[in-house]
Each structure stands twice: as C-alpha cells, then as structure tokens.
Symmetry: C2
Subunit: 154 residues, 2 copies
C-alpha cells in the first residue's frame, strides 16, 4: 500500500494553525503548503476535531487549537488520525489448522504490543511545542548560514 503520511500531515496542520493564531486560515492555504488539495486537509482536520485537538466551524475559516502546543503530544495526534492501528502488523492469515502457526502468532502479538507501548510512551514525551521549537531552530540555523554566506561574499 501507500505509506501513511497522516501523522506527518496532521502535525503539519496543527503547527500551521499554531503559527497563525490571528489570521484567517482556509483549508486551501494549508493544502498549498502540504501540496495536496483542500479536501484532504479537511478530512484530517475532521479527525483532529473529533479527537478534540482543534476547533473549526463550518463556513468559518478560522481553526484554532483547543490546548496549548505544550499540552498536545505527538501521541495525541497519532491516536487522532491513526486510531488503534499499530506500527507492526501480525499476519492473521496463518493456517488455523496449524497449531504451531497460530500460537507463534499469539506469542508474537505480546511482543509487538510491547514495542508499540514503548513507541507510544516515547510519542507521549514529544509535544507540539517541542516540534515548533525545533522548527524555529532550523529556521534560525538557516538564517545563520545565510548571514555567513553573505559576509564571505563581501
């Protein structure tokens, strides 16, 4: 299948809203940045809204976050758009007549759950604010490089 970029795009949307607290933000503007179409953006926003992470009103192009970026975790966004889908997938197609097969899968499920739990705990440590901060750093760093380049050129 295609790789899911829902989490990535959802973070993008959330960050975009956080960075535009005042101005009007249409789904089309956001879609331009993600390079997709407004329909996709609205679908993701619908999921984020249903999960209580943002508020938006029909016909009113001013979405807003329900919480501070420091109170929104990557896990929140993951759960909002991916639900209970996990990162590793069992093969549930194994031959049920084969006792070995089914029990190996059951055993493996326990360990996949363990990895999932670990990943989710890590995602819970990461907030939207962290991502915004890192974003600012990247921008600042780029600015520095540009400054140096200019002074070298003189």
């Amino acid at each position: 299948m295609k790789y899911s970029t829902k989490v990535s795009d959802a973070v993008h949307i959330m960050a975009f809203i956080a960075l535009n607290p005042a101005g009007s933000l249409t789904s089309e503007k956001i879609a331009e940045s993600i390079r997709t179409n407004p329909g996709c953006v609205r679908q993701l926003m619908s999921l984020l809204r249903k999960y209580g992470l943002l508020i938006s009103i029909k016909g009113h192009p001013k979405p807003s976050l329900t919480k501070l970026p420091s109170d929104i975790t990557l896990l929140d966004i993951y759960k909002a758009v991916e639900g209970e889908k996990s990162l590793l997938h069992l093969d549930t197609h194994t031959n049920p007549e084969c006792g070995v097969g089914i029990h190996i899968q059951l055993a493996l499920q326990d360990y996949f759950d363990q990895v999932q739990k670990c990943a989710e705990e890590e995602m819970q440590k990461i907030t939207l604010q962290d991502i915004l901060n890192r974003y600012q750093e990247k921008l600042f760093h780029l600015g520095e490089l540009f400054e140096r380049k200019v002074s070298e050129d003189l």
Copy 2:
C-alpha cells in the same frame, strides 16, 4: 497498500526452523503453515539468508539458523526483512516553496527518528528464544484448559 507482515512471517519462519532442527523442512511445508505459497517463503528466506540469520542451500531442503535463538533478536529479523524502512513516514511531498512546510517536516524527522530508535531498542531486547518460550507457555496453557475440560466432563 497492504500492511507489511514481513516481520511477522519472518519470525514464523525462523521459529519453524528452530522447532525442526532435525527433519527436512521444505519451503512448501513452511508455506502451508503461513498459508501462502512457497515462492513467498523463499523470498523471505532469501532476505534472512542475506542478513546472515539462516543458511540454506539450493536444492537442499534443510535450512538452519546460524545462531542460537537466544542470540537472535527481533531487531535482527526486522532489519533483515524491512531494511532501513521506518515505522513512521514523513510526507516528503510538501511544497518546497513553502519554507514553513519543509522546516516543519525537517523538525518532525528528528522526532520520528527518536521514536524509531526507541522502538528498535525495545526490539533488540526481545529474542527469538523469548518468543519460543512464550509460544510454549501458550501451548501449555491450552493443554491445561483441555485437561480441566476433560475432567469436568467425567
């Protein structure tokens, strides 16, 4: 797309081989248990062989593990069949003209890497032997249930 069950199936294959150290094990026998066809099994075995986790010889239906199950981790198997593919995927399609977009994605990459690292460390703690043990427990537990059922029926 379809969900990848390569890790799951690869563990299945490795466990199957570990449980059949003596007998001849054809790709067809393994395929029956996973309920797929021999070609798929051979493709996965090829990846496992290239990564050095098992040995098998053309025309000789007796695959064997290169290490003790207690020395083979879930991470080994993951790397063998999934390579450097990670669990979470960035949207690399964002508009490069949109400075905000690209830098949010760059910032997010750092955090996706962090989650990946965490998951991989957890996978490294889990050995094939652990999975085999859990498998035995499940089998044993099922046996107990059966015993009880029989005695109740008397």
